[in-house]
């Protein structure tokens, strides 16, 4: 991505044009802001890059070690797509993991470098979207970039093996490609996003339905104009063009979904009676030998997965809803909160103006597509698992909309964003400094070091067949694994 962009000369042209134009005309304070922000942003990215060059081992990478890495690797070792019977997560849609696996396992120890590239991708897309909504101003794009890099929840996953930032990139890139008219690329990106997790298809269909119905309902109140954000309205010829693109886009996503999501849907249907395990496990019966899934290990694991929904958040009352706007942003005890990751200061800076812009659009009888999407996405998130790692998309879009919508970002706003960058630089440094100077193998968990040693003896002794292990997070194993100890919801007995 980066190489193509740079090789096309885009980067050079943009930077040299900016130096001759905007930089010359900018005030002393603006230059200080950009230079200081750039130094801190590079500091954060350097820490993230250093962390990304190490193998997965951190406590916040537990999902990656649990199944994102383990399962594709096991399938590669077994040379089979058949269900790994001790793993319930093997019935999740995993096209993203399978697509990234060849890159993860090309090194001696599994790596997480692709996730860092997707982080760079998010930065580029944020810049592109902001410049699109704010007529090309690079300083405003830089401000949006600093806001994203200064977000604590983004900082937590930077340089790690987790995939939530990758999934966020896929959606944002799909939006950017769609706006650019590149429907094929938009459809590929969106298809991988759509099939990234079991709940995403439900979420996206519900959001689309609610947005469509609300648009239809608002037309009764004389809402005639549409805009993407809070800038200029979409005029009729453009609206026709977007509508035409939407039809091609939906057709392409449907076709690509057969390839990208189809195999996983088929596997989930066959073994658990639902196309999107764990939701609806046992509803349908496609396998003659399959009894009722309910009561069986897969059914028990499905219930356990769904019960995770209530593990986060502080409740679902109206009062909890109002309070959550603050509490998702701040730590409560220690470094985390009831919503898992604190989101940080940039979100707090943007949420107030965002609500103001949304209300202002409605008062002018304008339907702002992206702000409405953010609001509906948020409400759907509220009813599901209240983890802030599932809010990357609406929060980043919120920052883009607000920053591109501010007439002239004030020095107070810019100063607050710099403070957020500084706090996040401190957080990211603190999170990863324990690994500085260590060899990759020295960072591994004890369990993973023993797996690496076992790899050697498995090959030397020319062993064949499964190795029984008491755990299933065996991303470092280069042999077929049989996890023998049940640990719901991920490891099941069979």
């Amino acid at each position: 991505m980066l190489c193509v962009w740079v090789s096309q000369g885009s980067a050079k042209n943009i930077v040299s044009g900016w130096l001759k134009g905007e930089w010359r005309e900018s005030s002393f304070f603006s230059r200080i802001f950009l230079a200081t922000g750039a130094v801190m942003a590079f500091g954060i990215l350097f820490c993230a890059l250093y962390a990304a060059l190490l193998p997965p081992h951190l406590v916040q990478e537990s999902d990656a070690l649990n199944y994102h890495y383990t399962l594709p690797r096991q399938h590669l070792i077994l040379n089979s797509f058949q269900h790994i019977r001790w793993s319930s997560a093997d019935l999740f849609p995993l096209p993203l993991q399978f697509a990234l696996a060849p890159y993860w396992f090309v090194t001696a120890l599994p790596n997480k470098f692709p996730q860092f590239l997707f982080l760079l991708g998010i930065m580029m897309v944020v810049c592109r979207l902001t410049r699109r909504f704010r007529a090309g101003r690079l300083a405003v794009a830089a401000l949006a970039l600093f806001a994203v890099l200064g977000s604590h929840n983004v900082g937590i996953q930077m340089g790690t093996a987790m995939l939530d930032l990758v999934i966020c990139y896929l959606f944002l890139a799909s939006l950017d490609s769609f706006l650019d008219g590149n429907i094929a690329l938009a459809a590929v990106e969106f298809s991988f996003f759509f099939w990234s997790k079991s709940f995403v298809p439900f979420q996206m269909i519900l959001i689309t339905a609610v947005m469509f119905l609300s648009f239809k309902a608002l037309r009764v109140f004389d809402f005639r104009m549409i805009s993407w954000g809070v800038g200029r309205d979409i005029v009729l010829p453009e609206a026709r063009e977007y509508f035409s693109r939407s039809r091609k886009f939906l057709f392409a996503v449907a076709a690509l979904s057969l390839l990208i999501g189809g195999p996983f849907v088929a596997k989930s249907l066959y073994y658990s009676g639902t196309p999107l395990y764990p939701f609806g496990a046992g509803l349908l019966k496609f396998n003659e030998g399959q009894g009722s899934v309910l009561g069986q290990p897969l059914g028990e694991a499905a219930k356990s997965h769904i019960a995770m929904k209530n593990k986060y958040g502080s409740g679902r009352s109206a009062g909890d809803f109002l309070k959550h706007f603050w509490f998702i942003a701040v730590p409560e005890e220690g470094v985390n909160n009831k919503y898992d990751y604190p989101v940080g200061l940039p979100y707090l800076l943007c949420v107030g103006p965002f609500l103001y812009f949304l209300c202002r659009s409605f008062s002018r009888k304008i339907f702002p597509v992206i702000p409405v999407f953010v609001a509906v996405y948020w409400l759907v998130w509220w009813t599901g698992t209240q983890q802030t790692r599932f809010l990357y998309i609406p929060i980043i879009l919120m920052c883009v909309v607000v920053i591109s919508g501010l007439k002239e970002p004030s020095f107070i706003f810019q100063g607050a964003v710099l403070l957020a960058l500084l706090l996040n630089l401190a957080s990211v440094t603190r999170a990863h400094r324990g690994d500085w100077g260590l060899e990759p193998v020295q960072t591994l968990r004890e369990q993973d070091r023993s797996l690496v040693a076992l790899n050697g003896s498995y090959v030397r002794q020319e062993q064949r067949g499964y190795v029984d292990l008491a755990f299933g997070d065996a991303a470092f194993a280069q042999f077929p694994v049989n996890a023998t100890v049940e640990k719901l919801p991920f490891i099941i007995r069979y």
């Binding site: 800076l349 103006p353 103001y356 004030s410 107070i412 706003f413 607050a416």
Partner: protein
């Protein structure tokens, strides 16, 4: 000097309250 509008007041308040909250939680960790 440029006038401060309501958004700037909001940014200042939010930043101060956020900063104080972070200090409170950080302090509690070390007590």
């Amino acid at each position: 000097m440029k006038k401060i509008n309501w958004m700037d007041v909001y940014f200042i308040l939010v930043t101060i309250i956020y900063g104080l909250w972070r200090i409170k939680v950080y302090w509690a960790r070390f007590l």
